[in-house]
């Protein structure tokens, strides 16, 4: 029913009235001549009904035969609207321009959606896609999806599979990451265990190989601790992968110097904001002039989305905070505090897995600052694998 109404609306129809004469004859003649009349009603010798515009033009003779006077009550349809605005060329141009712009803008890729990546960031994939010719703002017709897919796989060996699907202005790049095979174990290679640092041996747990040192012995870095060569009773020699935990007392030292004269960057004047509008991949600066250095910059990007689809426009606002280097002096107590905090930080970073048995701190005040030395007596595993080179 809707389709019929739509067809009639597009082609145009009229509401007419046939006054006087023979209404029945008029209707019959219309039917015989293939003219459809609908919605007819008869009131006071007047027949009111609807018919299509092209049919209305044919019924003059029929009306004469049936002796009825025809009158159009109302016109309906797109043809009448078009006819009404026929002299307004601007409307027609605007209408055509609308579709032309719609077609033109829908011929570009405005959105690239990356799916299926877990460890590789979308930004990295987008950069590689750009290098193979798939980027936002690219003419859609010039992209060969199959070629782009293969090029991406060539560029990124960390991807095992990729597909470039283009749907309208959205390109969805589906990827699968390569699962790396486990590294070949070195347990089969013959090797010795040597000392990784100077120290005095506290305990030895030998799982494989021959002990070359005893508990209580002092060793230096690189000394052989456990040998991978095992001699059998029948004078045969086997080369094995030595395994052992060799704990030793070692001495470590951390130094820190804090000068009395410190420098800091302080903010000068209120921050300046500069925005750039990116419309259809074209950057349009929304400011004049440039910002003098030195400054600290913070960037914020506003990219609107509709139903999870990013629009091809974004506003990048950078806040520039002008900074100036200022020198100032600190007291000895403050310098010592700062040095201790720094030493603690260094200790956490460098000696975190090592057991510290004893520590000794010396602080020396110098004319230009404070110097702190901290010595640690540690207990750590100094076993380190070293391959045995065998000439076959």
């Amino acid at each position: 029913m809707f389709m019929l109404w739509l067809y009639r609306y597009i082609t145009g129809y009229v509401k007419f009235e046939a006054i006087g004469g023979f209404s029945e004859r008029f209707l019959n003649l219309c039917a015989i001549n293939g003219i459809t009349v609908w919605g007819s009603s008869l009131k006071d010798e007047t027949l009111i009904g609807f018919m299509q515009v092209r049919d209305y033009k044919k019924i003059r003779k029929i009306a004469k035969k049936a002796q009825v006077r025809l009158k159009v009550q109302k016109r309906y349809g797109a043809v009448f609207i078009i006819h009404r605005y026929r002299k307004r060329t601007g409307l027609a141009v605007g209408f055509l321009l609308f579709f032309a712009i719609l077609w033109f803008l829908s011929s570009f890729i405005w959105n690239i959606n990356i799916v299926g990546n877990k460890n590789i960031s979308s930004q990295v994939i987008l950069q590689k896609l750009k290098s193979v010719g798939v980027y936002e703002g690219r003419w859609r017709g010039s992209i060969n999806a199959e070629e782009a897919r293969l090029s991406l796989l060539m560029e990124m060996p960390e991807l095992s599979w990729a597909a470039v699907n283009m749907r309208g202005t959205l390109a969805t790049v589906d990827v699968r990451e390569t699962v790396k095979p486990p590294e070949k174990t070195t347990a089969d290679f013959p090797c010795n265990i040597v000392a990784a640092a100077d120290g005095r041996i506290v305990s030895i747990k030998c799982y494989e190989g021959t002990k070359e040192v005893q508990v209580g012995e002092a060793v230096t870095k690189g000394d052989l601790l456990i040998s991978g060569t095992v001699e059998l009773k029948n004078s045969m020699t086997l080369f094995k992968h030595a395994k052992a935990d060799v704990y030793a007392e070692t001495v470590r030292e951390l130094n820190c110097f804090i000068p009395f004269e410190q420098t800091d960057r302080v903010s000068v004047r209120s921050p300046k904001k500069r925005s750039v509008l990116t419309l259809f991949s074209v950057d349009i600066p929304l400011f004049l002039g440039s910002v003098d250095e030195p400054y600290d910059a913070k960037k914020t990007v506003w990219n609107p989305e509709i139903n999870g689809v990013r629009l091809p426009l974004c506003v990048t606002t950078a806040t520039f905070q002008l900074k100036k280097e200022v020198k100032f002096n600190i007291t000895q107590a403050v310098a010592v505090d700062m040095a201790k905090k720094q030493i603690d930080e260094m200790c956490k970073q460098q000696l975190s897995p090592i057991l510290i048995k004893k520590l000794e701190q010396t602080c020396s005040v110098q004319p230009n600052g404070v110097y702190i030395t901290q010595k640690f007596l540690c207990k750590e595993n100094i076993a380190k694998d070293e391959n045995i080179l065998i000439n076959k």
């Binding site: 003219i35 009349v37 609908w38």
Partner: protein, 92 residues
């Protein structure tokens, strides 16, 4: 003459147990309650006003009597009559 013309089709229609007049081109009348009547077949209007509509279907005349009757659609091979139909008379 017309009776002779339709005779073989009538035989076929009887043999296949098809509804009367389906092959011979008789009018097909369908009613939706007493509010709408659809006549499928050749029809011409003999009388038309809001209380009485008389349609010639070729094989007979159908007279609709009622209130607010109107011909909703009319073309060479069908007609739709709407309104409050009280009686339907068939005459040759």
């Amino acid at each position: 003459m017309s009776k002779h013309k339709h005779r073989p089709l009538q035989y076929l229609s009887n043999a296949l147990e098809l509804p009367e007049g389906l092959l011979s081109g008789g009018a097909h009348l369908e009613l939706r309650s007493n509010r709408e009547a659809v006549i499928d077949g050749k029809c011409t209007v003999l009388e038309y006003d809001d209380s009485k509509i008389k349609i010639n279907t070729g094989s007979g005349i159908i007279k609709f009597c009622g209130r607010n009757l109107s011909i909703c659609s009319l073309c060479s091979d069908s007609a739709i009559i709407r309104g409050f139909i009280c009686t339907i008379d068939f005459t040759d």
